[in-house]
Assembly symmetry: D2
Homo-oligomer: 337 residues x 4
């Protein structure tokens, strides 16, 4: 019912020994893991690698737009999509409907001659095509840049590392690495661990380079498979294709601005052993690098368009919703060719 | 507890006399109101004026990007923003927090060494910066293009006119008409009715033309005023600045692709007399023209950037969330300069 | 995308041929199914068999209280319980927590020295131990007593047959028929169809009679089994023990005031052939008899207490929540001995 | 963004100096405030004064039932009722409606011949007629009986002091003190502070005694006034009638099992000066005494029945919902005469 001083679960509770300064940073904590981007954009930065999406790069990315074709990378936002089992599903409900007016609703009494509809949604902010914010994953009581985990609380939300810090960004040059197409398969198998070599070879075959400040998109075909499965439970039992630990270093070297994929959690499942905790690469990517992760993207249309046009780079506009003090956000990322 | 055959509220219920075909269209119904775009893009079209956002126009709009500066047009998506009183507010709640891990959460017992957060949102789909879908407003038992209102039901949602039909669009050339700046005021007064002359004069002063297929954005300063008010209730009592009936014709003539504003409901409140029902221009714009409306946008930063750069046209990327069979969607529209 | 005049699904929509009067009743409709209680308590009655819970019977039931022992019949209202797959699960979230105050919440800044918690729930009204209201199940466009189904709409809810009509009732003499105990088994097997003979023999063995105006409770052991299952999906695939069609007549003869069970939907699954539609007995019981059904009750503690005290009758207090215009309600029914 | 070691808000965070044992209790903390019931029912008790509702008292209370009349003490659970401004309102939405079947819903295609409805609720657990659980209010990092506030977290909820601990109780002898009737007024005025003398005189006039283990109900008329107000905002500005600090001692002396009222927060508003924090008596009653508080009850019908029958004692059945690890619960308390 508590924790040890250094943060492990315990029946008892012993207070941490550190203090936190007025900026919300753990005093004296040094992140000795590599690679990491702590301090790179200032001690109080809350944007991480999204800082790499400079106006210059956005302007350059815009010059990739030739045909004007727009392609959405979002799954249908409804109850049929894959939602991580630790979350509840998406619920879309109506406040009043057209059918109400067919039957004669009290709304027609309250507002004579009016006819219309209104609807509501209840959902996990990470329950559909989404961005993980920098306040989503921690390690050793700290989030990206050394902010204390206690900055995220129920009442005020994520006072540090909120996704709304990205409201004017996550727009830039998108690059798709289409692994199934490269490998000549429909989809990567569950448990397949993507390596740096896979990514380099795919990029070369596609004639594209992954560069500094790019918004990298990696296709696995794993999310589409969910929709084909008869027994959806199987999806959560068999593991998932995803990146391996070595790709963390590769991403840091390439210095990408963001990474989005069409699986559930970016990283390979089961996790490579040994691992520190569940989803170990989340802590490496989000907390150490400050890399915003896109998950559950829909890349089938993007894949078809890239193949058709013979190019794997495009303008990508994928800002999150401006949700205040939130740990993630649904999005409808659009690629423009 | 019902309706008359022609759709008026009544204590009794008498069935309508029309039938509906397998496409969901009311058989024999002719829309005799003008202007209207029914049939213009085919009998089964569900996109309306968004059809004007052709790839060619998107490509042309992209050439407006010079500096790469990205400006969000979304209010903070939280409980502090203005929500129409017929709706409930935005509720953002956490499934688990950083503070939980400070206190020692059962999550730490279930997942050793894990630390992270996860959050939920419950909101009206039109409860923040938003797009009204074509299934949001009706008149005489029909929505845009003659589809029957009965196509929108609680169980399956908006089987016609859903916002998800726009998932690959609402990207194009944005034009801002900054009325307060033009008039030298902080904001338009409540009840001020915007006329075609206002818009023409403002455009001329700004050196910009509103053209076919543009995504028009009109600034009033009304949403920012909400945040300054001590007594928020006043906001809903004093009316709102907004467009007048004559602007409907003006918009149809200009043939814009969409209209977005920083007020609550686009149109002037109180409504111009005589009017058919509450929000009469909604039916004219959404139902007759098939024009998708953006409401509760945040245009202060956009205004400042336009003034600073001395131009009022930009690339606007504002796709809705891909919510299946929904009548509207929150969005984070970004202007790129 | 519609229905035939007599209510069957169709791609097209043809209006019904009937009209509805100012009381919300379908004009001219006669229920020719038996047994039925339409009109028995007046043409506008919305309480059905709960009318049998007269003050006299409540007073008599109170005289059953001897020891003062109180036994709850509710499952834990949380995300671990069985929820019918057509519904979403129970979501319990905190607005602010004790852990927030450990970490130092903004609530502590807003309200100096204050410490406390506050929580929210999102749930199907029939997503835990529950009562089905009389507006929950229909047949041939009518609900109990001939009210039109159109009386239940999204905007105003169940304007007829709402559960709140029962706010001052569902209190009376409870009788438990403990079938597993009677049969010497842990629980009835899925697909087991309970017959009138089962019920009569069980009552006789237990030395209790089921009388007019009783709140009948039948134990199957099916809900407890859910908690033991490794693979919860199995629960929804193998069927359920429940009452057969013949029990409808038996219940009507006995003239009980309500029926509650510890399965999901009272009736045996798969349904006995031939059947009119899914959950055919729901229409027989709720719509024809006006019998309020209790589902997903927890009867293990009640069973143990009855066995221990050697009696199967008790005072049962099980009012629904006073949810306005609702089709059902969670409840915490308590038996007092 | 944190707290001092002793729990005050601070920009910085300094860990508390105490530890917590495996039972969740703060080691070494002694509650020196009086009156308090800490330890009275054992060191690990989580029921507080509800322990006074012994079977013997329940059995004795049952003997008060003579006529069998049942009276609900719940306001309508809907969006029209008073909800404390720190909470959001009640939202009741339908998954599918009767009107859907009038228009022809996809549910009719999925389930041939089926017609029915299903609904959802989103609400603060304390957003209607309610019980405050023992985990709702704290002081100096502890809740009732010395449990640490860190036991209440977002992920697992209230691991100590949950309302579900009361699932088999809050049934007993109810006593109504009808202050407006006694004083010959419609309702107590906002800011009126109820004193022990008020309560003693009212009890005497009504010919009733408040005894050990009673479920005390005090009527003010304040909740009904909310429904009459044109401007609902006024309700939250003018204060409320409620009990004063001296009544805390009176309640402890009388040794009541619970206290329920028809105001928002039991205690007088504005609070008597000096006070430790907002709602100071909540900490005195819930945290020190372990007294479960009922708020926003509807006592008009109860008042009328008591007056009509000439007696102010009755059997009161008011168990909370069995919400797991929750800080409060809606209820439909019923008085039986």
């Amino acid at each position: 019912m508590g924790r040890t001083a250094d943060g492990k679960w315990s029946d008892e509770w012993t207070p941490p020994v550190f203090s936190v300064d007025a900026n919300g940073k753990v005093i004296g904590y040094v992140n000795d893991r590599t690679p990491n981007n702590w301090g790179r954009w200032g001690e109080l930065d809350e944007k991480g690698t999204a800082n790499l999406l400079t106006p210059e790069r956005v302007a350059a990315a815009a010059r990739l737009i030739e045909t004007g074709k727009v392609v959405s990378c979002a799954i249908p936002l409804d109850s049929t999509g894959p939602v991580h089992p630790t979350r509840t599903g998406v619920v879309h409900l109506y406040g009043y409907t057209g059918s109400d007016f067919v039957a004669g609703t009290k709304a027609g009494q309250d507002y004579p001659n009016f006819q219309g509809t209104d609807d509501y949604i209840f959902m996990p902010l990470q329950g559909s095509t989404q961005w993980d914010g920098l306040s989503h994953f921690f390690y050793k009581d700290t989030m990206f840049n050394g902010f204390w985990i206690g900055n995220v609380e129920s009442y005020a939300g994520a006072r540090r590392g909120s996704i709304h810090q990205m409201k004017d960004t996550l727009v830039g040059r998108g690059v798709l690495l289409d692994l199934p197409k490269f490998k000549g398969v429909d989809r990567l198998q569950p448990q397949y661990g993507i390596t740096p070599d896979d990514l380099d070879a795919c990029a070369e075959a596609q004639g594209v380079t992954v560069g500094e400040g790019d918004m990298l998109v990696i296709r696995t075909g794993h999310v589409p498979w969910y929709y084909q499965l008869e027994d959806k439970m199987e999806y959560w039992k068999v593991g998932a294709p995803g990146i391996t630990r070595a790709v963390v270093d590769w991403l840091a070297e390439k210095d990408v601005a963001s990474l989005a994929m069409d699986n559930i959690a970016v990283e390979v499942e089961p996790h490579e052993e040994p691992f520190e905790h569940v989803y170990p690469l989340h802590a490496r990517l989000i907390r150490d690098l400050g890399l915003t992760l896109g998950e559950v993207w829909w890349l089938e249309d993007l894949s078809a368009t890239c193949a058709e046009l013979g190019r794997y780079e495009f303008f990508l506009s994928a800002p999150p919703l401006n949700v205040t003090n939130a740990s993630g956000s649904p999005a409808n990322p659009v690629a423009v060719f």
